[in-house]
Symmetry: C2
Subunit: 274 residues, 2 copies
């Protein structure tokens, strides 16, 4: 198949965009497009401009034997805040408030476009260069965690709340859930994580951080180290969280009967460990 | 921001690829790139070639007032079968066989790249032009269902197996699960589906089709109509399924102690309703 210059550039954008953080050698492209290395190098320069001008991250060239080209998605702070503001406009609707102080958000966070954007924002603020997995807990955080794993080019692991599942022998722990006020089980198949892995935790909602704490405890059972954490919405109360150093995108506060949901424009929270 | 021709083509590829099935007007591009309509029209012709030469689907132009350009992802049959063959190579490993006749597949189906490919294959064989939602049931099918919803540009709805969840008032039904051999509850918040919706059902695994049947029953409670169904793996036994007219990607057969997992090269199954 013969590709013209313009078409090659479009095709390279498509390949890099579909495979964030994956390294493609120049030979991959010279073979695919039957073109000289120098030609592909010129194409890649144009492709770099495309991503930079669109504020969608960087295309970088890695030198050496294992070298090549890869796309690192990273949305600009201005665009992130603009996106989160429009999302908060939708969230700030008292009809979303459910009995028990819960918030109805699944119409938004299950939306593939929104989940993809949240995933790219997490990938813009969490340092994942040494990470082996993105880990989440069922159910509501799965879409955004999958899209985060996609942006980071990492496999996704899902912690289950049910020990009766059919995934082979599993490690389980229990903890007292703040939101459901009952003992909650977390369970993960032994096969799901390699020993000594480094992981990023993603969840959709945080009150006191008990779920993150329990997830970390479960990770310890696998000798895995948590090197980053991201949550979509954090409640202002309780102020004291059981975790520190995490990325949070949206703050949720109750002022009397009124909800106040706003972007967390700092993104990174570094409170001291309690 | 000034874009050169080459860069515009890369940028249009990126925008269409990130937003499958979404219509973009020519004015959207003329504004974004500060270029004439005739210039953008020429760019779009090149972009069409990119997707066609890469066998990744079609970019179509819609005439009229609500017109514009959209990208319909559709992978070629040859590429689909090649992808499913390489996946079956990984699945055909007896160490994946778990007690109870279950198969360990989560390392593959939670992988974002694989889930994305499965989603695009479902979008290649299921007719979704009238659909309002993609509906799945927690947990293992969620990643592929999200990627299917992404390819189809539809919102995702996730049926829960737990009635104690915090998503407001819900409709629930129970059914006898073939795999877990216990009564299973399906539950969905009343707000999750609009009345008289048309939906596509996605699940990861099918034995007799009881789960699909129960999902259809729940959809009936919402006055929603199931207009398409897709499953990743179907067991050969039992032969009589409780559903008909579905897309299935992989066949799973036990011959004595040996597993036989193969691509379903017909993709669409049209058995008569039982």
């Amino acid at each position: 198949m013969k590709f013209k210059r313009n078409e090659r550039i479009g095709a390279i954008v498509k390949i890099l965009s579909d495979n964030p953080n994956k390294v493609f050698t120049l030979s991959y492209f010279t073979d695919k497009f039957n073109a000289a290395k120098s030609t592909i190098s010129e194409d890649v320069l144009v492709v770099k401009n495309v991503f930079e001008k669109m504020n969608l991250g960087q295309v970088i060239t890695i030198a050496g034997a294992a070298g090549g080209v890869k796309y690192i998605p990273k949305i600009s702070k201005t665009d992130n805040i603009k996106f989160l503001e429009s999302l908060c406009d939708k969230l700030n609707d008292n009809s979303r408030l459910l009995p028990g102080g819960f918030l109805y958000i699944i119409d938004l966070i299950y939306n593939p476009q929104i989940a993809a954007k949240i995933g790219k924002i997490f990938a813009s603020y969490i340092d994942y260069k040494d990470a082996d997995y993105v880990v989440t807990i069922e159910t509501k955080g799965i879409p955004m965690a999958l899209m985060t794993a996609n942006a980071m080019n990492l496999p996704l692991v899902i912690i289950r709340k049910d020990s009766k599942v059919s995934e082979g022998s599993a490690l389980s722990i229990t903890y007292m859930s703040e939101s459901s006020k009952r003992v909650q089980m977390l369970s993960l198949p032994r096969k799901a994580l390699k020993e000594n892995s480094k992981v990023i935790l993603i969840d959709d909602f945080m009150r006191g951080g008990g779920t993150f704490k329990a997830m970390e405890d479960l990770m310890n059972e696998f000798n895995a180290k948590v090197i980053g954490k991201g949550v979509f919405i954090s409640m202002a109360e309780p102020k004291e969280k059981q975790v520190s150093d995490y990325v949070s995108l949206v703050d949720f506060k109750m002022i009397g009967e009124e909800m106040q949901i706003t972007p967390n424009s700092d993104f990174v929270i570094q409170n001291s460990e309690n």
